[in-house]
């Protein structure tokens, strides 16, 4: 599955296809030699200390019903959180992403996984996701197009795009 990584903030953000250093491991799979691993919340809760003792970066994957509060206390130990979209219609991860970023101050990689479609990329990016597993033949181009479709945003979110109400205010202050 291609992995898209965004860099830059707000309307200047750009997207590239990158190699994925992370290895997803099942709840009872042996750990690979040294690679960073993504585990389920179940395994994280069970093996937390053992995982951290290996010294490698660790990420947790949350199913869409698992809330940000379930890992909020552990965020200092996590380099990545992956949030699942079991179908594009399940929008819970948008709220979880914003809570992780805005309420709990998570600074690591926030990855969108599952049914990630080009027509939702901009919403995800605005809610604080910075990497995306996307099954699209030309993922980078699709992402670039999705990011460019709008220049006006009405509400603040996690991203750095300045919402229209604030732009209006900044403009009238400058006049």
């Amino acid at each position: 599955m291609p992995l898209i990584k965004t860099s830059g903030a707000g309307t200047t953000a750009s997207a590239d296809v990158v190699a994925d250093p992370w290895v997803s491991v099942g709840d009872d799979d042996p750990l690979p030699a040294a690679a960073p691993v993504i585990v389920s919340l179940t395994r994280w809760e069970r093996d937390r200390d053992a995982l951290l003792a290996t010294g490698r970066p660790v990420g947790v994957r949350l199913a869409s019903h698992q809330l940000a509060t379930s890992i909020a206390g552990d965020l200092d130990h996590l380099a990545l959180v992956a949030l699942e979209f079991p179908t594009f219609r399940d929008g819970r991860a948008y709220s979880t992403a914003r809570q992780l970023r805005e309420r709990f101050g998570f600074k690591g990689e926030l990855r969108a996984v599952g049914n990630v479609l080009r027509d939702q990329l901009l919403f995800m990016h605005r809610c604080g996701f910075d990497t995306f597993e996307i099954a699209h033949p030309d993922a980078a181009a699709a992402f670039a197009k999705a990011l460019a479709e709008f220049t006006v945003f009405y509400q603040p979110a996690t991203d750095q795009r300045t919402p229209a109400p604030r732009l209006r205010h900044l403009r009238s202050a400058a006049e």
Binding site: L67, F88, R89, D90, G91, R92, Y94, S95, T96, R98, Q99, E102, R103, D119, Q120, L122, F123, M124, R126, C127, E149, F150, T151, V152, F153, Y154, Q155, P156, A157, A164, P165, R166, L167, R168, H169, S172
Partner: protein, 551 residues
């Protein structure tokens, strides 16, 4: 009225361009109908029984004459020369071709309109009191906040894939004409003891197959916190609302499941992290939007125009119309005029392009260019001088909009029903036509007084039958249309759900049944009681006995 600035124009055009691209991908076959469905639904485009249906938003029910002319132009150019005003202050076109839809959206954009968020599991077009900015009983104009909500909710990145659709209604007056208690969120502008204006917040109201009156979770919310508080409600719902069953996915089910107090606590907890944050309006933005809703320049006029009084004395038909179709205006010498889209035997809410053009012209000549659409599917000229009422009435009569029946038995709300809708079990429109024909006689209608009949063609309750004084619900019994009748529903500040009278009746017995119910009311009526008052005093039993004794 609100006017788009450069940001609003750019936003709506970008949205049209995006949809044009999606439509061309569909027409070329790159997108299947399944893949296209969620995209078109985000733009108000449904696939109905016979064709695509496009639902255009009329935010908080306010239209300029220029916008009304555009709606007429769309009906004439792209549809079968008519449109249907809905119970959510939208207009629907039943016959557009898919290839034309991007052009329709571009025409709408030119007059500062769109079809955004008229469908899909997102925050839908915000509705309001149709008399906003004109009503005598108003505390403040709710449209200022509706516009703020409209902008905040437009392509909200967090709330575009909610468990289910989400409807917000706002009233600025204590007499609730916007049915806020049966919305996912109902906002009532209220004054606290210190004299400040804020919002009373109701959540979890709704109709559909599980009708619920909303629960108040906050008695007074200062205005400046509205957006952060809404964001907190939506976030709790987005995270915890059920997604395993479409019929249990509305916020009302979550509120019932955890209890209103627990829900209020969860919102409060989330709100503590959002209030005073970036979502609150920046300085100057409230004032900027308020300025657009500043009252128009009304002429200083005497409270009562002598000519108006004389005309009523002289002309009983005008007097009857004035009694039912006018509402009190906040300015002396002005009136709010209701145009009835419920002619006897007609289709509730339908208007032809010629009628729409006429309304636009009348608005320019008599109502400072403003028009409103009510959730009861009528049109309103909000600012008419009393001295113009008689000539306006004559012109309305000529175009068929002067039926003197606002709030009366033939002012029926009906969904499109089986004639158009793919969800319906039974027809609604012909039932409405039969009832309005049965009670066509004006004196009788006025004698019966306020009586709200609401008809839905299926359990989804688009015709608001749960809150009709008389509610009629079409059901399917082994392939035949039957109708359940409820009594005592009320959508106002004294909101209540109707109660089922008894077994469903066949199609050809419904108008008779309504007549029996009305006769029973007249028998028991005391003094100036409305149907609803009598029902509340005597209860269901006398109605039930009469109805099932004769049928």
């Amino acid at each position: 009225m609100y006017r788009y600035d450069e940001f609003d124009h750019a936003f709506v055009r970008q949205r049209v361009d995006q949809f044009r691209d999606q439509v061309s991908r569909r027409l070329s076959g790159e997108l299947s109908e399944d893949e296209f469905k969620p995209l078109r639904l985000m733009n108000g485009l449904y696939l109905q029984l016979h064709a695509y249906m496009l639902r255009v938003a009329i935010p908080y029910g306010t239209l300029s004459s220029r916008q009304m002319r555009c709606l007429a132009h769309i009906a004439r150019t792209y549809d079968k020369d008519y449109g249907h005003f809905t119970t959510r202050q939208n207009i629907q076109y039943n016959w557009p071709a898919l290839k034309d839809v991007p052009d329709i959206l571009m025409d709408l954009a030119a007059v500062e309109m769109h079809a955004l968020q008229t469908s899909g599991n997102c925050i839908r077009n915000v509705t309001a009191d149709q008399y906003a900015g004109a009503a005598a009983d108003e505390i403040e104009d709710p449209r200022v906040w509706c516009e703020i909500i409209r902008q905040w909710s437009s392509l909200h990145p967090e709330f575009s894939f909610l468990p289910r659709k989400f409807k917000i209604a706002v009233t600025g007056a204590p007499n609730d004409r916007a049915a806020v208690a049966v919305h996912d969120i109902g906002l009532r502008m209220v004054r606290n003891e210190a004299g400040e204006v804020g919002f009373q917040v109701l959540v979890g109201g709704g109709q559909g197959r599980t009708p619920v009156i909303g629960s108040m979770i906050r008695a007074f919310l200062p205005k400046r916190y509205l957006l952060s508080y809404l964001e907190a409600i939506l976030r709790v719902y987005n995270l915890l609302g059920r997604r395993d069953n479409i019929f249990k996915a509305r916020i009302k089910i979550l509120v019932q499941q955890v209890g209103a107090q627990v829900f209020a606590d969860m919102v409060e907890d989330e709100w503590q992290h959002l209030k005073d944050g970036p979502v609150e309006l920046p300085d100057g933005e409230l004032e900027r939007i308020q300025a657009y809703f500043a009252p128009p320049s009304f002429e200083p006029l005497p409270t009562l125009h002598a000519g108006f009084v004389e005309a009523k004395d002289r002309d009983p038909a005008f007097a009857a119309w004035a009694r039912s179709n006018l509402a009190d205006h906040r300015e002396p010498g002005y009136a709010i005029v209701n145009l009835s889209l419920k002619p006897v035997g007609g289709v509730p809410g339908d208007a032809t392009s010629a009628q729409m053009d006429t309304v636009a012209d009348l608005a320019d000549r008599f109502s400072l260019g403003e028009i409103r659409v009510s959730h009861e599917q009528n049109l309103i000229l909000p600012h008419v001088r009393q001295k113009d009422l008689h000539s306006l009435w004559q012109e309305l009569t000529a175009v068929g909009f002067a039926t003197a029946n606002i709030g009366l038995i033939s002012d029926i709300i009906a969904c499109p029903g089986l004639d158009y809708c793919s969800l319906a079990n039974a027809r609604s429109i012909p039932i409405a036509q039969q009832i309005s024909t049965r009670f066509a006689e004006l004196d009788r209608m006025h004698d019966i007084g306020e009586l709200k009949v609401k008809i839905s063609g299926c359990i989804n309750a688009c015709g608001h039958h749960h809150v009709g004084h008389i509610g009629i619900l079409g059901v399917d019994k082994k392939g035949e249309e039957f109708y359940q009748i409820t009594l005592g529903g009320d959508a106002t500040e004294t909101a209540e759900l109707g109660r089922l009278v008894g077994p469903a009746l066949p199609y050809d017995k419904v108008a008779d049944a309504v007549e029996t119910l009305v006769d029973t009311y007249l028998e028991h009526r005391q003094g100036g009681e409305r149907f609803l008052d009598t029902y509340r005093r005597v209860g269901l039993q006398p109605f039930k006995e009469k109805l099932y004794a004769t049928h």
